[in-house]
């Protein structure tokens, strides 16, 4: 088995428009190992969502290469799952929670019993086994995002990509969901690529934090987070090392915003 799961090389995305081309992503390269939890942060408007869409095959990059498990990504690959920020628009309101989680499995897992088992297991993993028969709109925002995560978990992807998934939920719910992501990573060994604009969140969750520059984007820093694997909201966030790391990332983001960092070779 290959050690490298995801490889992004010299990715570039230019949006063409009648008023002039906009270079959203300049040149992004990074790799991600199997079983890693990598966070991507950057100043707002730095093309995080564009990057994710290119990685997930929803957008075709202008130049560069994305490889998942050694296979070039041209369209959404079957071994990748996506969790969007807009949970309300990502879940289908005419399907129940179970129906939503089961839908992507319909053509992937032929046996109905096996599908059922995957759905039950995924709902249990996110703590929603009691709400399988409800409709998404009957649930709170945080629970809806849990449904979206369960859908991704049941899909059994090699890598789970999350695009600012907790930006629209309140702070307490957010902390719970962060711990859910940590436990999915720790207990199920899931590989996660987590995009956020929240610096604390990136340091708390990640084993690595990739700091992006402002647009046209490149990787300004690839930082290893040397916090213990066992993390919790109170003690981890109170560690001096946590504070150091978040301060460091914060300064990097500030530099990125001011455009002080210079792109190597540019």
């Amino acid at each position: 088995m290959r050690d490298t799961l995801l490889e992004v090389e010299n990715l570039k995305k230019v949006y063409e428009s009648s008023t002039g081309d906009v270079e959203a992503i300049g040149d992004i390269s990074f790799t991600m190992k199997r079983g890693e939890l990598v966070c991507i942060v950057g100043p707002s408007g730095c093309g995080k969502t564009t990057l994710l869409k290119c990685i997930s095959g929803l957008l075709t990059p202008t130049a560069g290469r994305v490889e998942l498990d050694g296979v070039a990504v041209k369209s959404p690959p079957p071994n990748m799952a996506l969790v969007f920020q807009e949970y309300g628009r990502s879940l289908y309101p005419w399907l129940t929670v179970r129906g939503n989680v089961e839908l992507p499995l319909k053509h992937k897992v032929k046996s109905k019993e096996e599908r059922q088992k995957l759905v039950e297991d995924a709902l249990l993993a996110v703590g929603l086994d009691h709400a399988a028969g409800s409709y998404p709109w009957q649930l709170s925002g945080g629970m809806q995002q849990r449904v979206a995560i369960a859908r991704a978990v049941a899909y059994q992807p090699e890598v789970l990509i999350m695009d600012e998934p907790f930006a629209a939920v309140d702070a307490q719910t957010r902390a719970d969901l962060e711990d859910l992501v940590r436990s999915l990573h720790r207990e199920r060994g899931m590989s996660l690529l987590f995009v956020t604009h929240d610096i604390d969140e990136s340091v708390y969750l990640g084993e690595r934090v990739i700091v992006l520059s402002k647009s046209p984007t490149w990787v300004q820093e690839d930082l290893a987070i040397d916090l213990p694997d066992e993390r919790d909201q109170i003690t981890t966030r109170a560690m001096p090392r946590f504070t150091e790391l978040r301060t460091h990332v914060y300064e990097q983001i500030q530099r990125a915003k001011r455009g002080e960092a210079v792109r190597p070779g540019a």
Binding site: S75, W94, H107, Y135, Q138, D170, T173
Partner: protein, 275 residues
């Protein structure tokens, strides 16, 4: 916002007493028509008019005219043509609307033409269609479809076209098959619009059913009413109009039941948003 996580499932509000609310809604639904009937009866008694007979006269004419062979000879064929016309309009409208809504160039090509055809009042086409297809059952059904298909078709196009972009991206990222996308995303997402179209189609279909029978025909509800009109059988004519009204009410009731089932999720969201 602190209660977000503790509020597990939103409970839909229910009336305190179900039986009482049903009784009072029946009273509200029937009370006013009853009042109008009484008013009409009193007025017809005080000042009898040839063209506005009393409701009792009309009721007697209703029983005499429609209960018996006329039901089988006129009412049933009409209702059958109406039903076939409505079903065809819905099926053709949804199928064609989905295809046009999904294929961009087809939409750009057809939309101006479709808008034109919708703008043409369908009754003016009746004599032409009669000429082309001859005076048969099929022609009458075609007349109904020719008018009733447009609301379903145009609403389906609009509904299919406006599928939410995040929902579409979700479907793409999970590599849903074409059929799955249609069945679980495109059609359900368009269903509120489609049902709006169907509702409009029903009334158009009823009107066209009557009109299609007014031209060289020898049976049907519309034919009978015109016959009574031209022969000064005024109570009978009114009883036919009454029957048409009842058919309309029946259609609306069936539609309501189907709509509540199909759009249960849609009404659920609306209720949660209001709460």
């Amino acid at each position: 916002m602190t209660s977000m996580e503790t509020r597990t499932i939103a409970v839909l509000r229910r009336p305190r007493s179900r039986s009482r609310s049903i009784l009072s809604s029946i009273w509200f639904a029937l009370g006013f028509p009853f009042f109008l009937l009484v008013l009409w009866g009193v007025w017809a008694t005080i000042s009898p008019q040839k063209f506005f007979p009393s409701p009792i006269t009309i009721f007697q004419a209703f029983i005499k005219t429609w209960i018996g062979p006329a039901f089988v000879d006129d009412v049933l064929p009409s209702l059958l043509r109406l039903a076939v016309g409505i079903v065809l309009s819905i099926v053709v409208g949804i199928v064609a609307g989905t295809v046009i809504g999904l294929v961009r160039w087809l939409r750009d090509l057809l939309e101006p033409v479709l808008e034109f055809f919708r703008a043409v009042p369908p009754p003016v086409l009746v004599p032409i269609l009669m000429l082309i297809f001859g005076p048969g059952d099929a022609t009458r059904v075609i007349v109904i479809v020719a008018g009733a298909v447009w609301p379903v078709l145009l609403n389906t196009i609009e509904g299919v076209r406006s599928t939410d972009s995040v929902m579409t991206e979700t479907a793409r990222s999970y590599a849903l098959t074409r059929w799955e996308r249609l069945r679980f995303l495109v059609l359900p997402a368009a269903s509120p619009r489609i049902m709006t179209g169907v509702r409009q189609s029903l009334s158009v279909a009823l009107i066209l059913m009557v009109i299609s029978e007014m031209f060289n025909n020898s049976s049907g509800l519309g034919y009978r009413i015109t016959y009574f009109q031209t022969n000064y059988l005024i109570p009978e004519m009114w009883s036919g109009i009454l029957l048409l009204g009842l058919v309309g009410v029946l259609l609306a009731t069936i539609f309501g039941i189907v709509e509540r089932r199909v759009l249960a999720w849609y009404h659920g969201i609306k209720e949660v948003e209001r709460a």
